[in-house]
């Protein structure tokens, strides 16, 4: 990703907008009794488009803002989301898989990772209540929502950051010759 002041401003706007939308909309709606958590998906998309460092930095600041606005101990959200963004970016750097299913599948998998990560951080900080089996349903459904949401986020963020993306030019595939050569 080529970082210019303009692109940096767009990144900040995407992150701040994403966190605000998550807290004031997605966290307060329920589909099948589960609220979608699309913040990990946003960080995954930024990692996919910008690489591991961009993903990690964006994840860190998204988590920091989330923790600040929820007035919870700082650092937990940052740690989980920076790991999420880093893993998404590393995937992009290590594997040459070009499929339209990569962003949504990665969003789904890494949202699962992030939700378990949030749980691990809470366990690390002290957790003395029984855990309902419904947590599994909640975490899995959040991942499914991230699959669908991730696809939309990928399309939107890619469009917003298009001038900064380093991509191979699209090669237009020619028509295959027919038997008659027409």
């Amino acid at each position: 990703m080529i970082l210019t002041p303009n692109i940096l401003a767009r990144l900040v706007a995407i992150l701040v907008g994403g966190v605000i939308l998550q807290l004031s909309f997605f966290s307060q709606v329920a589909l099948f009794h589960v609220s979608p958590d699309l913040l990990p998906a946003l960080v995954v998309v930024l990692g996919l488009l910008g690489g591991s460092l961009t993903g990690a930095v964006c994840g860190f600041w998204a988590g920091f803002l989330l923790d600040c606005l929820l007035i919870v101990p700082l650092g937990g959200g940052s740690l989980v989301l920076l790991a999420t963004g880093y893993l998404a970016g590393t995937f992009r750097e290590r594997f040459e898989i070009h499929s339209p299913l990569v962003p949504p599948l990665l969003c789904m998998g890494l949202t699962l990772f992030a939700e378990l990560g949030f749980g691990a951080v809470e366990l690390m900080l002290g957790f003395d209540a029984p855990v309902s089996a419904l947590v599994i349903r909640d975490v899995l459904l959040k991942s499914v929502f991230a699959f669908f949401g991730g696809w939309a986020i990928y399309v939107g963020v890619r469009r917003a950051l298009r001038p900064a993306l380093v991509e191979e030019p699209m090669v237009r595939r020619g028509r295959r010759p027919t038997v008659l050569g027409v």
Partner: protein, 282 residues
């Protein structure tokens, strides 16, 4: 050149990880610090505007969710309505008697808000996205008289307690959060216990350590016990409604001394809440 890049990348990553752990260590158990207060002061008006602007869209999505659920609820509600009709007649008589008794002892007209507490109404402007902690942000803070540990209620019953405050906002830890523990009692039997949540299911609270040989029955109401002993007292005033017993198997009561409670307040869909400020503190 490439090695330098890799080294720089690793350094930034290490810095971020160390920074996260440093922040965790520095801020854990401290409530809100200066940075959070500053960020909250900047973003709370934006959150508040976004909350109001997005309410119609939220209501639409929630309407779909509730429609699915409503089908299943219909039958149960029909049965409950029949029972409620039968109880209504007796209830009216009890209400009239209660009003007289209240006048006799000089209590407030409604008795819903415990004496000495001043309710401050606020709106939920944000909610934690993960299942592991159940917190909401409300748009009233220390500027409105809200203090840490103030109980929070809505029209249905107890919702949670204030965990941290800034000038114009407060973090409310819901009763479904893993850190929540409330001393509660079953009415009318008065059996006391400690109420803890089952993390991940806000409709299931567990009343544990029941200190009685008496049996608890399904449908009994649970309220805060509001104890006071040796100069210290519960953070919750007595008799705030919490929920009703929905599961009270004999086995569970005898083996684990616990029953399951469904909260009266719909903790998934909170909109307007009241913080009970003031009151006596031990």
């Amino acid at each position: 050149m490439y090695r330098k890049q890799v080294r720089r990348r690793r350094a930034v990553l290490a810095l971020l990880i160390v920074g996260s752990f440093a922040l965790l260590t520095a801020t854990y158990g401290q409530g809100s610090d200066g940075v959070q207060r500053g960020v909250s002061a900047i973003f709370n008006p934006i959150l508040s505007v976004a909350d109001r602007a997005l309410k119609p869209a939220r209501d639409l999505v929630n309407w779909f969710d509730e429609t699915f659920e409503a089908k299943g609820r219909n039958e149960r509600l029909q049965r409950e309505l029949e029972t409620a009709r039968e109880q209504a007649v007796g209830g009216k008589a009890a209400l009239a008697e209660n009003e007289q008794l209240k006048k006799l002892v000089g209590l407030d007209e409604s008795g819903a808000i415990p004496s000495g507490y001043t309710p401050v109404t606020g709106r939920v402007i944000a909610r934690s996205p993960t299942v592991w902690f159940a917190d909401v942000m409300i748009d009233v803070g220390s500027g409105d008289g809200v203090e840490v540990d103030d109980p929070v209620v809505n029209g249905d019953g107890l919702v949670g307690t204030v965990a941290a405050v800034t000038g114009g906002s407060a973090q409310v830890t819901l009763i479904a959060d893993h850190s929540s523990a409330i001393s509660a009692k079953i009415v009318p039997s008065g059996i006391q216990g400690l109420m803890k949540p089952a993390v991940g299911d806000p409709d299931d609270l567990i009343l544990d350590f029941l200190d009685s040989e008496k049996r608890v029955g399904k449908g009994q109401s649970v309220v805060t016990s509001g104890w006071r002993a040796q100069g210290i007292e519960s953070g919750y005033p007595p008799n705030l409604p919490i929920g009703e017993v929905v599961e009270a198997s004999l086995l569970e009561q005898e083996a684990q001394q616990q029953v399951h409670i469904r909260p009266f307040a719909d903790l998934r869909n909170l909109d307007v809440v009241q913080v009970l400020t003031g009151g006596s503190r031990g």
